[in-house]
């Protein structure tokens, strides 16, 4: 049984900056799919069933470039591998014995960067038993609004200027950046964030497909080891 108050509080959290930050990029993605020859139902299906923008973008690019099914599967798997540690990090935060295992596997579909960041930012203020439904409202609303924005981008992007579309695409990484800055509370996280950015730039020239995952893994592990004392203290 859903705790509707927590669920609607999660939705209320998503309305505003989180929806704008993600929705503008989904709008631009809808426009990109249209210009790449996808139809409306295919564009809608992509966000409905995948809901992880970098992976969706890689899928579309690989199709346009003439890639095989294996190319597409591996490219998306690598691009979205970041969701694995994010999920391992999120589940212990929202877990409550009240919820059966299968519900977590359903909830998994709405785990993405925007919902993750926003949940991490507020979870300490929420009662443990409310966190699951709160995240369901937050992530679920972001998911549904992303579907709507992709469809809108597909249908009405011809009414929007090129400059506006470019601006829309730029909002998303800047929003992620600002959310990351708001996380700069522990030394190990500050180190991991800075090292992750620097390493990804270096590694991109050598292993472009793996650069993000390897950079994050190395930076996070170094941050954890160097500031281990802080880990024990906290």
């Amino acid at each position: 049984m859903i705790n509707w108050l927590s669920f609607t509080n999660g939705i209320r959290h998503a309305v505003g900056i989180p929806v704008i930050g993600l929705g503008t990029s989904m709008f631009a993605f809808g426009a990109y799919l249209k210009s790449s020859g996808f139809d409306l139902l295919q564009s809608l299906s992509s966000t409905l069933f995948t809901f992880a923008l970098p992976g969706q973008f890689v899928m579309a690019e690989t199709i346009v470039a003439g890639g095989t099914f294996l190319n597409i599967f591996l490219a998306v798997l690598l691009t979205n591998a970041r969701l694995y540690p994010m999920t391992v990090n999120l589940i212990p935060i929202i877990r409550h014995p009240h919820y059966p295992k299968w519900k977590y596997y359903c909830l998994a579909h709405v785990i993405a960067i925007t919902a993750w960041f926003n949940m991490i930012a507020v979870h300490k203020k929420l009662p443990q038993e409310d966190k699951f439904d709160y995240f369901l409202g937050l992530g679920g609303f972001l998911w549904m609004s992303s579907v709507v924005c992709t469809v809108l981008g597909y249908l009405v992007s011809h009414l929007v200027s090129y400059e506006t579309l470019v601006g829309f695409v730029f909002i998303n990484p800047i929003y992620f950046l600002i959310m990351t800055l708001s996380n700069l509370k522990e030394k190990k996280l500050i180190f991991s964030i800075i090292a992750g950015a620097i390493l990804s730039v270096i590694l991109f020239h050598y292993i472009p497909d793996w650069s993000v995952f390897v950079a994050g893994l190395v930076a996070g592990t170094l941050g954890f080891i160097i500031f281990k004392k802080e880990t024990y203290d906290s």
């Binding site: 899928m59 877990r95 695409v169 730029f170 990804s200 994050g216 592990t221 954890f224």
Partner: protein, 108 residues
Amino acid sequence: MTANFIYFSIFLASVATYCCRAFGIFSAKNVSVDSIIFQWIKCISVGIISAVIAKIILFPAGLLAETSFSSRLFSTGVAIAIYFLFKKNVILSIFVSTMTFLIINFYI
């Protein structure tokens, strides 16, 4: 590319993405918020996200690739500066940064 090819590609992309999430749920079953592994995974998560951001801003694909490198870098600096100068105002920093980015690229 046929319609069936695209639909099957979407299916494969969805399976690949869900595998990452589902495997995360499976792996998290013995991880508690008090554990050392949880702290380690937290560091890796933020490290990966900052790597994603750096890649999107510095080596973008699609529309952003058509904009200048310096404009993206400068506007990112503006976002960080505004965020800290104006009491961590999220809306203001995103707005000013995006406007700066657009002005540099299209009106200068």
